[in-house]
Symmetry: C2
């Protein structure tokens, strides 16, 4: 396999900031802290060089993809930074388990810091980054990945923590994967690096969401080059703006490895008689107004700064902030029956049927 | 390796009851339910045949020993019985990790059901049982084994639960082993089968406690054939009888995968003006009288029925029971500085120095 070919694109230092901005938007509040991930990505590119960004077609069918992501409460991620050794610990264990070395790193989730950090992990491992991920967004639970929806087995899951503990789980199904991996994560201080659904390229087609690293970069660039960032972002995403307002109520707690909460956004200007409520479990999951659902997971609901269109992550929400709420459609995979069963509103404990965003008036 | 040689002893159906009685005594309250373990051992011997009992010298230095034990709250073990597949799931994972099949099963702890259940596991796997264990008693935490005291690395730990999930942990040390394995165990419903310190025979000498299966059998037999079982048991163990009395206070709770509690035994007959208090964390750990320590972990403290000398496990303690409290010395390995640091009173949170039982008057 030759990475250095004319067609190969490299992720450079200049790409880190726009990638981080785009990943923050796709994270819909979650996916881990983008700022520390961007620092790590910048540091690793400086130290190890630029990272080839490849597509599935640049790899051989037998090449092993190593999907990597942090698991844990994003609020913990702020204080407990990943060490430098976890990717190598996981790579080594994957090689031991599969009998061959991984050929590329893939973000498990493109949303939040988990979309940005893989640049650092790939750089350290000397591997290219695959322009794809397992969510097209961020989700809080282990089984909520496209590979699960596509019916692939999650086993083995390999986890490493900052201390150097390595845990491999062969769960019987995706729900047990979540239970056990979450318990290991909490034991490690609510933060660990995880590889699940390690898979050959030949099985990845239709089971990963392609082009999402490129999409995140495009979102970040779109907001950069305009005097009207909110409109530019909405246009690039094909998003509805649900409300422009300010945060007037905010409840958050970190429990069982999750950041859970509720935020109320009271409209300003033309929206001044309105009030939106968002339900949060790491990510923004359901938007309601006067008890009526305006958008629901797996469709994406983003809170952004009204002036700059910068995404506000769950742990960055502050009383009084001027924000706009955007909503846009998820990848079609999430709208299949298995996709909705996995990550629809009922999967998060809400007594709601999923209605596609486009069908809500 | 030939198991069927003249010198080989086999564990038969007739051995199960005395083995269970002896393991209950060595369990000092813990080590898991002996009754369900004895049922499982009997059933497996009927189904798969008698189990060869071998010593280290019957095996080759390169032969792999598979130490097996249940992890979890004994109170949960009563209601959630092991499935039949866990030993095979662990054996298969061990073979995958080590590149060769285990040659013998060893009880991780001889105390309680964990001393008896390995007969069933060995029978199912078609492997001999090693006449040795990792404690010479029962202990509640993963790192509290002789192999840890001997300085061997705990890695890898392989766990399987009744659902079929298999988890392999490569912890950086014994304390992290306990934290992560305990979390996995709690996620699986506070009960799992575990192999840790999987090791070749050549490394086992001095790192396992030899002859403990035979000792448990001898204890069970000693109590069987006498009109004075309490005296016979005390003689066989070389134990002090701390008090003869009845249970007058009892507090237990199951929390974080442990059964914790305190029991007060008020003397009867010659002991009628006395009251002993035992501190329990799965096992009986500290015996005090009027604030004075009479015996402390790692020395062994057993509660037995005064008439029959049958051990009373923690979850079998009842208000009003007529019991006697015995104490006897632990294996010398536990009295080394590393042994006391691992399983002395301070390792369990008691602000006490260890004093050998023989030095307490």
């Amino acid at each position: 396999m030759i990475f250095i070919m004319e067609a190969t694109r490299f992720l450079t230092l200049d790409d880190v900031a726009p990638l981080a901005r785009g990943c923050a938007v796709l994270g819909t509040g979650g996916g881990g802290d983008v700022r520390s991930a961007a620092l790590a990505a910048g540091r690793a590119i400086r130290e190890y060089g630029e990272v080839p960004l490849v597509g599935l077609d640049d790899l051989d069918d037998g090449d092993l993809i190593l999907p990597l992501g942090s698991i844990g409460a994003p609020t913990v991620g702020h204080e407990m930074i990943h060490g430098d050794d976890e990717p190598e610990l996981i790579r080594r264990e994957a090689e031991r388990l599969f009998g061959r070395a991984p050929a590329a790193v893939m973000p498990s989730e493109i949303g939040g810091g988990n979309g940005v950090h893989p640049v650092a992990w790939a750089a350290r491992l000397g591997l290219p980054l695959l322009d794809a991920d397992g969510m097209g967004r961020a989700f809080p639970e282990v089984q909520m990945v496209s590979m699960f929806v596509a019916g692939l087995p999650p086993t083995p899951i390999v986890m490493a923590d900052v201390v150097g503990n390595v845990t491999t789980v062969r769960p019987v199904d995706g729900l047990w994967a979540e239970r056990i991996a979450r318990a290991v994560c909490v034991a490690a201080g609510s933060s660990a690096l995880m590889a699940d659904y390690i898979l050959p390229v030949g099985e990845a087609r239709g089971a990963v969401i392609e082009g999402t690293v490129g999409l995140a970069l495009a979102l970040g660039r779109a907001v950069e080059r305009t005097a009207a960032p909110l409109a530019a972002l909405a246009a690039e995403l094909g998003a509805k703006i649900l409300v422009n307002g300010k945060i007037t109520d905010l409840r958050r707690e970190t429990t069982g490895g999750f950041a859970r909460g509720t935020v109320t956004i009271t409209g300003v200007g033309e929206d001044r008689d309105r009030a939106l409520t968002l339900e949060i479990q790491n990510e923004n999951l359901v938007a309601t107004e006067d008890g009526r659902v305006l958008a629901t997971v797996p469709d994406l609901i983003g809170i952004v700064d009204t002036q700059t269109a910068s995404a506000v992550q769950t742990e960055g929400l502050r009383y009084g902030q001027r924000v706009s709420v955007l909503a846009w459609p998820c990848d079609p995979l999430w709208r299949t029956p298995r996709g909705i069963a996995t990550a629809g509103p009922r999967a998060f404990g809400y007594d709601l049927d999923y209605i596609p965003l486009e069908d809500i008036t």
